[in-house]
């Protein structure tokens, strides 16, 4: 990109094209990384395990994405594999709630999901960055169709209880006006010569030109109501560009004063959509995130024993022995024996089990804490956010405890109902929700959301609010490493014949990509050991 083109040798792109044509696309992928394209993932294409010794068996604990991915690759490589799973479903946290589903919570509450046919809420993972290459590759290989997940929507809202009389403000208005006015301030101070020492005269001129263009400033370097700024922030309600004779000519809209924007603290939220993890486009599987789990399960379901609550893991010099009981208290338990074990049970739970691991590993398991999170799915009879407010997908951010309202990216513009993400709560508020009954949680979520969308009153039909700390097979949301250091290495390294994998054994905590990359690394560690042991 920054290299000057050289007429004598082929350009890098030409070279890539040639390699791509001559060989499969995997070669292209490898070539791209060696030629210095920064690929934002350590994933280098499907894992290739050659030379597995005959008759070696691996016991996999947990049938979330990490467990199923490990099982799939190990079986492909020639290992015998079995999976023990506490639930009566596969997928773990990759979980989509649909009408008819029942949630049994720790503490005894039960929620029945009443959504209409075809409606769902992704109550755990809900969005996939375009740089999560392993996850995207598995979606490709396992035929999981994806669609765009709208993360940033300029027409969604920013909302503060104390600013603008508690009325929501369109994200795009706040954004354009904030950028416009801080640019104006900067341009005016540059123009007064206050930055002369830092910049050459020529650079100062370019800077002024750029601030003017970036902030939509006029010739006096002011950001003000004009048809130019309206082109960016939008038009007044009764002044949008029209056709024909009446009310057709557009009018400028009035920017929000900088003081008000500063006091609203909306700027705290304005980089939210621009973190690398949330860059557009993001994706979601058609029909719900759990489609990914279903796709893995289609490959490995024959290996899974459901309703198997792992209680104890014994390791000897040559084997691993896992004792389990029936999770629902009915039916038989058993003992599963293998040469090696991939354990994807979250540390919240594993740290309470009777497990033969080093003292170091045990200490690390107990010192890793998990985040809290509460998510709500609210079915509305009518997609009022689309019809009344022209919000198609995206996220409204608020300083109310519910923190977010997200509008469905699926079935946009349909006449049917839609399910909103009505809350995504973390921090102390999440513990307050965690302590409520489901009906109290729901009422609290509705009461808060109605402050932003008064239509909630008439349109709500049914809903579910899940606190991840009440999920019997999780006891939390996702891992919260303060400082990985040596402890992380201990957790990620094979301990005798057992290797841990999952979201918590990654630098991508709380992302499915982390589960898969960790599973692939665990598989590699087991394979290396098995080959060595013969």
């Amino acid at each position: 990109m920054s290299q000057p083109s050289d007429a004598r040798s082929p350009s890098r792109r030409d070279l890539l094209k040639m390699i791509g044509l001559a060989a499969g696309s995997t070669t292209m992928l490898h070539a791209m990384s060696s030629l210095g394209h920064a690929r934002q993932s350590p994933y280098k294409g499907p894992i290739d395990l050659q030379g597995a010794p005959q008759g070696r068996k691996v016991v996999v604990l947990g049938a979330g994405l990490a467990g199923m991915c490990a099982a799939l690759e190990l079986r492909n490589a020639g290992y015998e594999v079995s999976i023990l799973e506490y639930q009566k479903r596969a997928g773990g946290r990759c979980w989509t709630l649909k009408g008819g589903d029942v949630i049994e919570e720790l503490g005894g509450y039960r929620q029945k999901v009443e959504f209409s046919k075809g409606q769902y809420i992704n109550i755990g993972p809900w969005r996939i960055p375009h740089h999560h290459l392993a996850l995207l590759d598995y979606c490709h290989r396992l035929n999981v169709p994806l669609e765009v997940f709208v993360q940033e929507n300029q027409n969604a809202y920013l909302h503060s209880q104390t600013a603008f009389d508690g009325k929501p403000i369109r994200y795009g208005h706040a954004w354009a006006d904030y950028v416009g006015q801080i640019t104006e301030l900067l341009a005016k101070s540059v123009n007064k010569g206050q930055l002369d020492n830092a910049l050459t005269r020529e650079d100062t001129e370019i800077l002024l030109e750029s601030l003017k263009s970036f902030g939509i400033l006029n010739n006096d370097y002011s950001y003000e109501a004009s048809l130019d700024t309206a082109e960016y922030r939008g038009y007044p309600d009764a002044g949008a560009p029209g056709g024909g004779l009446y009310d057709a000519a557009p009018e400028p809209s009035q920017p929000i004063a900088l003081e008000d924007l500063l006091k609203s603290r909306f700027w705290e939220k304005m980089r939210n959509h621009t973190t690398y993890r949330h860059h557009a486009p993001m994706f979601q599987p058609v029909g719900g995130m759990e489609e990914i789990a279903h796709a893995f399960a289609r490959e490995v379901e024959d290996l899974i024993t459901y309703n198997a609550k792992v209680d104890r893991i014994r390791q000897t010099e040559s084997s691993v022995e896992v004792a389990y009981s029936a999770a629902d208290g009915e039916g038989e338990g058993g003992v599963e024996t293998g040469d090696y074990c991939v354990c994807t049970i979250p540390f919240t739970i594993l740290s309470q089990l009777d497990v033969d691991v080093s003292a170091d590993m045990r200490r690390v398991m107990r010192s890793l804490h998990y985040h809290e999170a509460v998510k709500a799915g609210l079915e509305m009879k009518r997609r009022f956010w689309e019809r009344d407010e022209q919000i198609y997908g995206g996220i409204t951010l608020t300083d109310l405890p519910i923190a977010e309202i997200s509008y469905p990216s699926a079935e946009m513009h349909s006449d049917g109902p839609g399910v909103l993400l009505g809350a995504y709560v973390y921090g102390p508020h999440a513990y307050a929700f965690n302590s409520m009954s489901p009906e109290e949680r729901l009422e609290t979520v509705l009461e808060q959301g109605a402050r932003i969308h008064p239509q909630y009153r008439d349109e709500f039909s049914n809903g579910v609010v899940l606190s991840w700390h009440r999920v019997p097979w999780m006891l939390g949301c996702y891992s919260n490493w303060d400082d990985r250091g040596r402890d992380y290495e201990i957790a990620a390294t094979m301990d005798n014949r057992l290797v841990c994998a999952g979201e918590h054994i990654s630098y991508l905590p709380g992302w499915q990509e982390g589960s898969l990359l960790s599973a692939l690394d665990a598989v590699r560690q087991i394979h290396d050991r098995a080959v060595k042991e013969g």
Partner: protein, 145 residues
Amino acid sequence: MMRFLIAPLLLVFALPSLAQEDNSQVDAGRRDLGSTTEKFTDEDGAELYRRACSGCHGPEGKGAYGAGRYPALADNPRLGHARFPVNLILEGNGAMPSFADWLDDAQVAAIVSFLQTNLGNDYDADVSAEDVKRMRAKFADLKEG
């Protein structure tokens, strides 16, 4: 305060089968949850227990059991000395998160005193905010070392 949702919802949720646990007394739909994004705001030990702890350990402290467990705090012999619960609250352990950033010394002392004298526990409430402050510094040191 807006209360418009309560009537229709109660009709839907009054079914006894739904709530098998005693209803906590949180005001449904109440905007003040006793929390901010940074901390818990109550001062009373019972209130703090209800908001911060009862979701896991249960309103009556009976604990909860699944693939893992939240231990019972009711009739718990380990609550006799404040150092043990103070340590868990500040440092966490396994699935018990640390509350160090969200509770100040007086709040920790209030919760521990509540636990020591309620939920079937009958000990002397033997901890002050000053004690918690000292323990907080000590635990932090131990972690550094």
